[in-house]
Symmetry: none
DNA sequence: CACAACTGTGAACGGTGTGTGAACGACCGA
DNA sequence: TCGGTCGTTCACACACCGTTCACAGTTGTG
C-alpha cells in the first residue's frame, strides 16, 4: 500500500496517532517541492491535507497535487467548522473533507470510502448500463447475467454506444469513431450491425438501442434526462 | 431543480428545516414503493436517507435505489456515530454520509459537493427557454418536464427558433436556414410545421411560437417586452 | 362594412428512411 | 483446398413524415 501524503510537516499528533493506530502508512510534507521529492516510486496512495492552521498553503498544495501528471486520489481535506464556507466553489480541489478536530472512526470511514471510490473510477474496465455488462478486458458481454456472443465489430459498436448512454450518433459519426476515421463504405453497414446487435440482445432488450429517425442511433435511457 | 428523495416519512423536522431554509426542494417517502410512485417525471435530484431510526429499511431502500435503471445520484446517508461500523463494506450503497445529528453547514457543504461530483461527468448541451428544454445530444425535447415527441423537422425548426428567442424569421429565412440553402418548396410548408409544433406544445404553450403577420414567426417573449 | 391579404386546419399524396432477408467476398484455421 | 465466420452490400417492403392543396378562419385596410 502506497503511503499517504500528509500536510503539514510536522503533522498534527492526533492525526499521526490515528493513522498509525489503524495501520496506514504516511509521509509528512511541508509544500509542493517536498511533495514531489519525497514521492514514492509507485506514487502516493492519497493525500490528507489539514487546512486549519495555514489554509492558503493547504489549498495551494491541493491545486498543485491536482495539476500533477499522476492523478492523486483520494484527496482528503481537514478543515475547521469556520472554514466550511471556503470549500464553496472549490469542489475540484478535494474528494472528501472532515471537520477538524475529527472523530477517528468517522475519518477512517471516510478514508475507506474515498479509497474505494478512487479505485473504482480508476479502473474503468467495466461498462454497465441497465442490465448490460461489457468487460473491456476480456471482451465479454452479457445481459442480465446471460453471456452475449458478439463479433468484434458488434462489440466495438455496442461499446461505443453504451459508453455515451443517451447520446445520439449519426451513421457517419459511428463509422468514423468505431470503424475508423478513414473508413469508406456505405452507411447502411451501420444499420445491419445495429440490427444484429438488437437480435442478439433479444426481443426484450432490443429497445436498448434506439433509432432516431433522420439522425442516427442512441443507446439506453429513453428517459427524460434533464 | 429536481427534488430530493427524503427518507423516512415523515422526515425529521431538523432536516426539513435545513432543506427548506437553504431552498432545496424535497419529497419524503417511506419505502421503495412510494419512492417509485412519487418519482417526478424528470427523476429525483438525489436522495437523503436518514438511517438512525430504522437502519434496515434505510439500507434496503439504498439498495433498491441503486439497482434502479435510472442512476440516482447523489445518495446521501445520515447515520449516528454508533452506526459508523455498519458503513463498512457498504461503499456501493452511498456517495457520502454525514453524522446524525448533523451540522447544517457541514451537511450543506457535503450536499453541494456530492451534487457537483454527480453532475460534472455528464453535462448535456441544452437549450432552455421558458419551460422548454431541448437536449442537443439526445435529441430529446420537453416542456415543463414532460417529454415532447417531435419529428426531425419539427425538432430542427424548434431548435432554430428557440436558439434565437424573440427574433422574427421570415418563412424564406426559415426555409433556407432550417431546410437548407438550396431548398425549393412552398413557403406554406413552414406554416404546417409551425401548426404541428403548436399542437404538440399543447394549448397552454402554443403561444410560445408567435405569428408576426406579413413577416413570419418568432419564439418566446413577445417582442414588445424589452 | 366589404374586400383583400394572410394564416390556420384537415386530409391526401408521394418520397424518404429504416427494417429485413439474402447473397457476396475477404479472411482464417483446419 | 475446403468450410466457416464475419463484414459488407444489395434489393425490396413498408411505415412514417414532409409536402402540397383546398378551404375556412382571421386580420388589416379603405
Amino acid at each position: 500500500m502506497q503511503p499517504f501524503l500528509v500536510f503539514p510537516n510536522p503533522a498534527p499528533p492526533e492525526l499521526i496517532q490515528m493513522l498509525d493506530l489503524t495501520g496506514w502508512s504516511w509521509r509528512a510534507v511541508g509544500d509542493e517541492v517536498t511533495a514531489r521529492r519525497d514521492e514514492p516510486d509507485d506514487g502516493w496512495g492519497g493525500a490528507i491535507i489539514v487546512a486549519d492552521k495555514s489554509p492558503e498553503a493547504a489549498f495551494a498544495l491541493c491545486r498543485a497535487l491536482r495539476k500533477n501528471d499522476r492523478p492523486l486520489e483520494p484527496l482528503m481535506l481537514l478543515v475547521s467548522g469556520a472554514q466550511l464556507a471556503e470549500l464553496d466553489l472549490r469542489d475540484d480541489l478535494y474528494d472528501d473533507f472532515c471537520l477538524w478536530p475529527f472523530q477517528p472512526r468517522e475519518f477512517e470511514a471516510r478514508l475507506k470510502h474515498a479509497l474505494w471510490r478512487a479505485g473504482r473510477s480508476a479502473r474503468a474496465e467495466l461498462i454497465e448500463h441497465s442490465g448490460l455488462v461489457l468487460n473491456l478486458e476480456t471482451y465479454q458481454a452479457g445481459i442480465n447475467g446471460h453471456p452475449l456472443d458478439l463479433t468484434y465489430m458488434e462489440y466495438e459498436l455496442l461499446k461505443f454506444l453504451a459508453s455515451h448512454p443517451g447520446k445520439v450518433f449519426s451513421r457517419e459519426t459511428l463509422l468514423s469513431r468505431v470503424w475508423g476515421y478513414d473508413y469508406f463504405g456505405g452507411a447502411r453497414t451501420v444499420d445491419v450491425h445495429i440490427r444484429r446487435l438488437r437480435a442478439k440482445l433479444g426481443e426484450e432488450h432490443a429497445n436498448l438501442i434506439q433509432t432516431v429517425r433522420s439522425v442516427g442511433y442512441s443507446f439506453g435511457q429513453s428517459r427524460w434526462s434533464l
